[in-house]
């Protein structure tokens, strides 16, 4: 009985940690979709770029400050730097790839394809420039294993879960309390009303990309700290899955991204604990498909009524 409870607790902890990664990435998909109605297919790769940026920043910090500052200070420095630089990548993508198309009034599909291609360019460009050798992420803080009711949890896992909760609260505050955040919500309803509120549309869009990519960078850093092997294709699968999580939650809704992310993690880890882990993807995707079948717009999504 005791072990069953322990096992269950461990399951919850692990799922929460994985779910946090999914949620942090999914929120980027959702934010951009909410504003531009664009699936930013490059987002998974922005997460990957974030992990690499985190790698370079951490290595640098350790080289220059390693002797002077403690591990947590380094992490505290690495987090904003990584988020900032990853946000720059996201915004660059917006400026170089998406905005010119938007200005031309191109069909939405062309922007989606461009996004997909940008993802490929990031992935393979990274591989081509940095080579195929995997990068080992430097260890900044010592892992401490805590025990809660017999289940073990590392300080890193706690950090990841804490980060996801903090991001959720922060975003919730942004979209309900700040003017820019409210403008973000307004854009998805009516593109033309926002300039009337005195906020240029492009500012809102850039802000959205800063938020989304910044959190992808954060996820990249945390992921690299937890699983310290980096490779250029690391963002592809997790990106697709986070996207699916966002859709199942109801794309365009911040709550949906978090719920969807955690749901996906609970399903995956649940399946992996009873079946061989190779069945994980099969079951996770089948269950998600069934959810979409029953509720085509996702859990929190609002059906768009067709008007004739």
């Amino acid at each position: 009985m005791e072990t069953l409870l322990q096992g269950f607790l461990q399951y919850i902890i692990n799922s929460l940690q994985w779910g946090s990664f999914y949620a942090l990435i999914a929120v980027g998909y959702t934010l951009v979709y909410g504003v531009l109605l664009l699936i930013n297919f490059a987002h998974g790769d922005i997460f990957m770029v974030g992990a690499y940026i985190a790698f370079f920043i951490s290595s640098m910090l350790i080289t220059y400050l390693g002797g002077m500052a403690g591990g947590w200070t380094l992490v505290a420095l690495a987090v904003p730097l990584t988020m900032l630089l990853t946000a720059c990548v996201g915004v660059t993508l917006e400026r170089v790839a998406y905005r010119p198309l938007r200005r031309k009034g191109a069909h939405r599909l062309y922007v989606v394809i461009t996004a997909l291609m940008c993802g490929l360019i990031l992935e393979n460009g990274n591989l081509a420039l940095l080579g195929a050798s995997r990068k080992k992420f430097p260890e900044m803080v010592d892992t401490i294993v805590l025990s809660i009711g017999g289940a073990s949890i590392t300080n890193l896992k706690l950090l990841v879960i804490f980060a996801a909760v903090a991001v959720f609260l922060f975003l919730h505050w942004i979209v309900t309390k700040t003017k820019l955040g409210m403008a973000m919500r307004a854009v998805s309803f009516d593109k033309f009303a926002v300039p009337l509120m005195g906020i240029p549309l492009n500012t809102v869009i850039v802000f959205t990309f800063i938020l989304g990519s910044g959190f992808a960078g954060l996820a990249g850093l945390l992921f690299a700290m937890s699983y310290p092997i980096l490779e250029p294709y690391m963002g592809a699968l997790i990106g697709w899955k986070a996207f699916i999580a966002a859709v199942v939650g109801g794309i365009g809704d911040i709550r949906g991204a978090f719920i969807g992310g955690f749901l996906l993690a609970f399903i995956e880890i649940g399946v992996a604990s009873v079946l061989p882990s190779s069945f994980r993807d099969l079951f996770a995707f089948s269950i998600l498909l069934v959810i979409l079948w029953i509720k085509p717009t996702g859990l929190f999504g609002v059906a768009k009524t067709t008007k004739i």
């Binding site: 979709y33 699936i39 790839a97 010119p100 198309l101 191109a106 069909h107 599909l109 062309y110 922007v111 989606v112 394809i113 461009t114 997909l116 291609m117 940008c118 490929l120 360019i121 992935e123 393979n124 460009g125 591989l127 081509a128 195929a132 592809a236 697709w240 996207f243 699916i244 859709v247 794309i251 061989p276 190779s278 069945f279 993807d281 099969l282 995707f285 089948s286 998600l288 498909l289 979409l292 079948w293 085509p296 717009t297 996702g298 067709t306 004739i308």
Partner: protein, 358 residues
């Protein structure tokens, strides 16, 4: 007579190709490239039914290809070859060349049925949500096959070479090339006839205005099923041929990456243009192969003039930077693709004289 010029020319050039292969005037490498060209033509034109004519955004085409590849491979090995798992051949291997088309079609049929995974949700779901379903379907197929140990699981499946070899025992002609030419022509023929019939044009109506289509008496659900099944079935056909050219299949060769290749070809050629799809598949195949040679040349050139540090080498990975880059610029400057939604004779009306392929 003049109206059949095109058909006759096509037929003669196919015959010529087979002849060249028969008397070994064609390099084995060039032959392989030509065969992949044929497979790519089937893939791009069949995906064009969904992503072009019907205006959906399906990104899991390789999943159906995978189903076709595995079903036909397993069937052909089980029926016509001696195998560790499946034992002695069920039919004499001498008959392989007769049974082969049926096996490929069986693979296509199963792939078409798998297409229902996407077709049924498409009744209620469109656009981005349908895109996700297609991606999920792609992953599900791969994952399902990886979990089937009897056909090799993640290690892949082989033995098809033995079946092909038993065809060579019957007659020494370039069998695979012939099958691919037949398969390609067959696919183009089906798609062409589908999208030019009033029946098939229903899917174009769905892409332009689904509400109007339903209210103007088009059974949209039925049309979607037809389109998805035809598209998936032909992808399965391409998969079957692909498996037999290689003689080996592996679930990971049908990943999202392969699906992306198919999409690149469709959008390069133009949505809703069959000639565009054919042309872009040819360009794409040639480009991939050309880059294989160009990249080392560029590398040595840049090293010899000293732009690049010695430690860095331009590798083949750049291919997959250059190709997305091409599509990236295409979307910026000519987003409708090479042909838009027009066909070859629309752009060059003089061709019509030689052409009654409708």
């Amino acid at each position: 007579m003049q109206k059949h010029t095109f058909t006759i020319a096509l037929f003669l050039s196919c015959l010529g190709l087979v002849g060249l292969a028969q008397y070994n005037w064609l390099d084995q490498y060039i032959l392989t490239v030509i065969m992949f060209m044929g497979i790519n033509i089937i893939l791009s034109s069949s995906l064009n039914i969904i992503n072009g004519y019907m205006g959906e955004f399906a990104c899991g085409h390789a999943g159906f290809m995978c189903v076709g590849a595995y079903v036909s491979s397993v069937l052909s090995v089980a029926i016509f070859a001696k195998d560790k798992v499946f034992g002695a051949p069920m039919l004499p291997p001498d008959l392989a060349w007769i049974g082969f088309p049926a096996i490929i079609l069986a693979g296509a049929l199963v792939a078409a049925l798998t297409g229902l995974i996407v077709a049924l949700p498409s009744f209620k779901t469109r656009g981005d949500y349908l895109a996700i379903i297609t991606i999920a379907a792609n992953y599900m197929v791969i994952s399902a096959i990886e979990n089937m140990d009897i056909i090799g699981g993640p290690r892949g499946f082989q033995g098809m070479k033995r079946v092909i070899n038993s065809m060579y025992d019957v007659a020494d002609i370039p069998w695979m090339l012939i099958w691919i030419i037949i398969g390609t022509l067959f696919s183009i023929f089906l798609i062409r006839r589908f999208v030019t019939s009033t029946y098939g044009k229903g899917i174009i109506a769905i892409s332009q205005d689904e509400v109007a289509a339903e209210i103007m008496s088009i059974n949209t659900n039925k049309m979607k099923i037809s389109a998805f099944m035809l598209s998936a079935g032909l992808a399965g056909l391409a998969g079957g041929l692909f498996a037999h050219v290689y003689g080996y299949v592996n679930p990971q060769s049908f990943s999202i990456m392969k699906s992306t290749e198919c999409m690149v070809m469709v959008y390069l050629g133009g949505m809703g243009s069959l000639s565009g799809s054919v042309l872009s598949a040819i360009i794409f195949t040639v480009l991939i192969e050309a880059l294989r040679f160009i990249i080392p040349e560029v590398d040595s050139l840049m090293h010899s003039i000293g732009i690049l540090p010695d430690s860095y080498e331009i590798s083949q990975v750049w291919k997959w930077v250059i190709i997305p880059m091409i599509l990236f610029f295409l979307m910026q400057f000519r987003p409708e693709g090479i042909f838009g939604n027009r066909e070859l004779p629309d752009s060059f009306p003089k061709l019509r004289k030689f052409y009654s392929f409708k």
